[in-house]
């Protein structure tokens, strides 16, 4: 029974690896196509990686770069945002996203947020989610080590030192975990979407006959608040809300 389970697991792991290798080679081929300036080809190859069922922030980032080179505003912003969702701390993603955002027509100013909140957000986004996780784990182990040494040592000075280390590492571990969960909630809490058509109308009610509030253009990021029939209530960074057709945007 036990051997059976393990052999099945092995088979799964190997086959997953084989698939992953195929996807990896597609990714590399995509990179080569991009380097040669063949952006349509690189786009196709990166999309194939996704079709195979694989993803990573790098795939999304490269896909977005290819779209940017082909002047596809909404698509490039969409994939940069996807990459950013996987790794909100990556500076290259942020940098290229600002380039892509410059291509869009709408300029929406964000509402000011309290400084403490802003600071926490910035700190949480300073490292990737995985980095925070590993810091938490490593700190946990170091705290445990210090704890053991603290117990085994008899000299007061050493005991004091290791106790301090224990407290520090415990705190670091806990703080990292909190930072990671803050970042996670930043990623998950808001359901964002990117507008794809060149120009859309936003209405006061989920009904095209109602008052037209404003127009939005391709590539603008909105958060989706609720849905009704074929309409969705969207909210902009500046706090204004309105209804538009759900088919006009693609959720991240």
């Amino acid at each position: 029974m036990k051997t059976n389970f393990f052999s099945t697991l092995m088979v799964i792991i190997i086959s997953v690896n084989a698939y992953s290798q195929a996807a990896d080679s597609l990714f590399v081929a995509g990179n080569n196509a991009y380097a040669q300036g063949n952006y349509k080809e690189s786009l196709r190859l990166y999309e194939k990686v996704l079709d195979k069922g694989y993803m990573s922030e790098a795939v999304y980032f490269n896909l977005a770069n290819s779209h940017y080179k082909l002047n596809n505003v909404a698509e490039s912003i969409y994939f940069y945002e996807k990459a950013k969702k996987l790794d909100p701390s990556d500076p290259a993603i942020k940098n290229n996203l600002t380039y892509a955002e410059q291509m869009r027509v709408d300029e929406i100013e964000a509402l000011p947020q309290p400084e403490v909140k802003e600071f926490t957000k910035e700190t949480a986004l300073a490292l990737s989610l995985t980095s925070w996780s590993w810091i938490a784990i490593i700190s946990g182990f170091l705290a445990f080590g210090s704890f053991i040494v603290y117990f085994l040592r008899s000299k007061t000075a050493q005991k004091r030192l290791f106790f301090t280390l224990f407290v520090t590492f415990s705190f670091t571990g806990l703080a990292s975990h909190l930072m990671a969960s803050t970042q996670e909630s930043i990623i998950q809490n808001s359901q964002y979407a990117i507008i794809f058509p060149e120009e859309i109308k936003v209405y006061a009610e989920p009904n095209p006959k109602s008052e037209r509030l404003f127009m939005l253009h391709e590539g603008t990021k909105v958060s989706v608040e609720s849905e009704f029939n074929e309409f969705s209530k969207i909210k902009l960074k500046d706090g204004s809300t309105g209804w538009t057709r759900s088919s006009y945007f693609k959720e991240l």
């Binding site: 997953v16 992953s20 996807a23 990896d24 990714f27 990179n31 991009y34 380097a35 990686v49 996704l50 069922g53 694989y54 993803m55 990573s56 922030e57 790098a58 795939v59 980032f61 490269n62 770069n65 940017y68 002047n71 505003v73 996987l86 290259a92 940098n95 290229n96 600002t98 380039y99 410059q102 291509m103 869009r104 027509v105 300029e107 989610l129 995985t130 925070w132 996780s133 590993w134 938490a136 784990i137 946990g140 182990f141 705290a143 445990f144 704890f147 053991i148 117990f151 008899s154 571990g173 975990h177 990671a180 969960s181 996670e184 060149e198 253009h217 391709e218």
Partner: protein, 594 residues
């Protein structure tokens, strides 16, 4: 008798007339007070006494056609004399509206008299002017016709049509000169006259008879409103040569020049609205056939530089009336108000040419700025459907400023030129793709909060808790199999410290002190609790190489502890005993180690 009657009548008449004479009447009178612009009016100024220095008003809004005709009539009726001096003018209005004939003045016996002003309403041209002089000449003038021909009577809104005014002249009359009196204002039309400088006489027929005709004027019209629109008639003044019965000495027929006013009939055009089906959103009213062109001065600019974007619509149609589509650019690229340039020629078929909007763009930030495709829709008259033109997307590439700075440096001296050209600038650039990746199945979660994460994160906590429990367990079971000497020593120390805490309670103090000593022995000499007797302890201590002095001291303390169970001790002794025990333990410990 009869003479007497006559005489008296004369006398009475004289008296009456005398009284009447003293009353000066100077009046202005118009034959009609409501005329069409192509009609004439007779205005006469009458005075009933002879006067001098008659000054007519200047007929500003009129043209004098005839006059002044002066007539004097003096009548004696039944001895009553009446005098009448009149000045008659024939006037032709020059414009429409209510026109005023000002006062005329006359000097009678040193006094100046004035008429009251007369106002005449002048309306639109009347089809058949019932001017007396015209009636006289009508027969001769019947051979002259002014016809307005409209190219299309049911055009679409904004479809160009033209109206041409043709003057038909029969073979036995001549027209010397023509002058437009009332230019129709073509309400609800965009209009443009195309005057023909060189009129050419062509042969044609009118009402089945041979005529000569001249196309006097063509006007291109773009209807601006749907429904029935009236084209008001054009009115002309003609100098017509009418043949007379007289002949000159050579027997040739003499012609008389007659002023004749003629107007075309009012024409009605029924304008169709553009079809509603398939009207594109970008349609703004352009009708015709157009092409759309966009071009940029330079597509690659440096930060802070400007370039020009030209949007040109050319073709045929209501070019002058159309609005060019708006251009929208991303906020990082500043777009200034366009400059409109028109190059339009108008001929009988309508307008043709081009309208150009030139925008100035300034690159504020580095990056790529696509200008979304510009759409322009028009109604194609030939196919009767809407067509939409779309420009290609234009991408303005704005480069970072580093190069601009390098260019400025060219002016400085040679030493500066030697500095490396490719300075690394602080300007961030578009980043290249990532070449390394760690592919994960789609939809896989973040490492954070994964099972692995929780296992790894909770392991140290579990381990810490486990070891904590382990220590406590070990403490509670001092006789456990795998106790280590170090731990027991710790316990011994702990018991000594416990003893220290009980310095004021003799019973407990000695109990804990004894325990501490035993534990110490257990740790150092590997003695089990069962075989602890004074003899065995002494033996073991000697065996372990402890000096006799220390051994004796240790035994002494042990026995003191035993005695303490039965006898009581003074509290002052406890401190000494504690210090003593501690000293002995440390010295024995040292001896065993060495």
């Amino acid at each position: 008798m009869r003479n007497i009657v006559t005489f008296t009548m004369v006398v009475i008449g004289f008296i009456v007339s005398h009284s009447a004479v003293s009353q000066v009447q100077f009046t202005a009178e118009a034959s009609r007070d409501n005329i069409g612009i192509n009609e004439r009016v007779k205005v006469s100024f009458t005075v009933n006494k002879p006067g001098d220095n008659f000054t007519p008003p200047d007929f500003e809004a009129f043209r004098k056609v005839g006059g002044p005709n002066q007539s004097v009539s003096q009548q004696f009726v039944n001895g009553k004399s009446s005098y009448e001096l009149s000045f008659t003018y024939f006037l032709e209005p020059q414009k429409k509206g209510t026109l005023r004939i000002d006062q005329a003045t006359i000097n009678i016996e040193g006094k100046i008299y004035k008429t009251t002003p007369v106002s005449i309403k002048v309306g639109d041209a009347v089809d058949k002017p019932n001017d007396k002089s015209a009636i006289k000449k009508r027969e001769a003038l019947n051979g002259i016709h002014l016809v307005a021909e409209v190219s299309k009577s049911r055009p679409y809104l904004n479809e160009p049509i033209y109206v041409v005014y043709k003057l038909y002249v029969s073979r036995n009359t001549n027209v010397r000169n023509w002058q437009a009196v009332d230019n129709p204002d073509f309400e609800n039309f965009w209009s443009r006259n195309i005057d023909n400088d060189q009129l050419s006489v062509k042969s044609g027929s009118f009402g089945g008879e041979p005529y000569r005709y001249v196309a006097l004027r063509k006007t291109v019209l773009y209807p601006q409103k749907t429904g029935e629109l009236k084209i008001k008639p054009l009115t002309l003044d003609l100098s017509v040569e009418v043949p007379t019965d007289r002949r000159d000495i050579f027997g040739r027929r003499l012609y008389e020049t007659v002023e004749h006013r003629i107007s075309a009939k009012t024409r009605t055009v029924n304008v169709k609205p553009l079809p509603k089906n398939g009207k594109p959103a970008s349609f703004t009213g352009a009708v015709g056939k157009f092409t759309l062109e966009t071009s940029t001065d330079r597509a690659d600019i440096e930060q802070g530089e400007s370039t020009e974007l030209e949007l040109k619509i050319s073709g045929r149609g209501n070019l002058q009336l159309i609005n060019l589509p708006d251009v929208s650019s991303p906020p990082g690229l500043e777009l200034y108000e366009p400059e409109r340039k028109e190059d339009i020629k108008v001929n009988a078929n309508g307008m043709r040419g081009s309208v150009t909007n030139t925008y100035t763009l300034v690159g504020q930030n580095a990056g790529k700025f696509p200008i979304s495709p510009i759409e322009f829709s028009y109604f194609d008259l030939r196919s009767g459907s809407y067509k939409t033109l779309s420009s290609d997307e234009i991408v303005i590439d704005v480069k970072g400023r580093s190069n601009a700075i390098a260019n400025n440096n060219d002016k400085t001296n040679e030493i500066d030129r030697r500095t490396p050209v490719n300075k690394i600038s602080g300007v961030s650039s578009f980043k290249f793709i990532k070449t390394d990746t760690n592919l994960r199945p789609l939809g896989s979660k973040h490492f954070f909060r994964s099972t692995t994460y929780w296992v790894l994160a909770l392991t140290p906590i579990g381990l810490a808790l486990g070891s904590l429990f382990f220590f406590i367990f070990r403490k509670n079971q001092p006789h456990g199999k795998d106790e280590t000497s170090r731990k027991v020593q710790k316990l011994a120390k702990k018991y000594l410290s416990e003893a220290k805490q009980n310095l004021d309670k003799p019973d407990k103090f000695y109990q804990s002190l004894e325990m501490a000593l035993y534990n110490f022995l257990k740790a150092k000499l590997d003695i089990s609790t069962s075989d602890i007797t004074k003899q065995s302890v002494a033996e073991k201590l000697t065996h372990a190489g402890v000096s006799v002095d220390n051994k004796d001291k240790f035994i002494e303390i042990l026995s003191k502890c035993e005695r303490a169970r039965y006898a009581s001790f003074k509290a002052s002794q406890l401190g000494d005993d504690y210090n003593h025990a501690a000293r002995v333990i440390t010295s024995i410990d040292k001896e065993i180690k060495s």
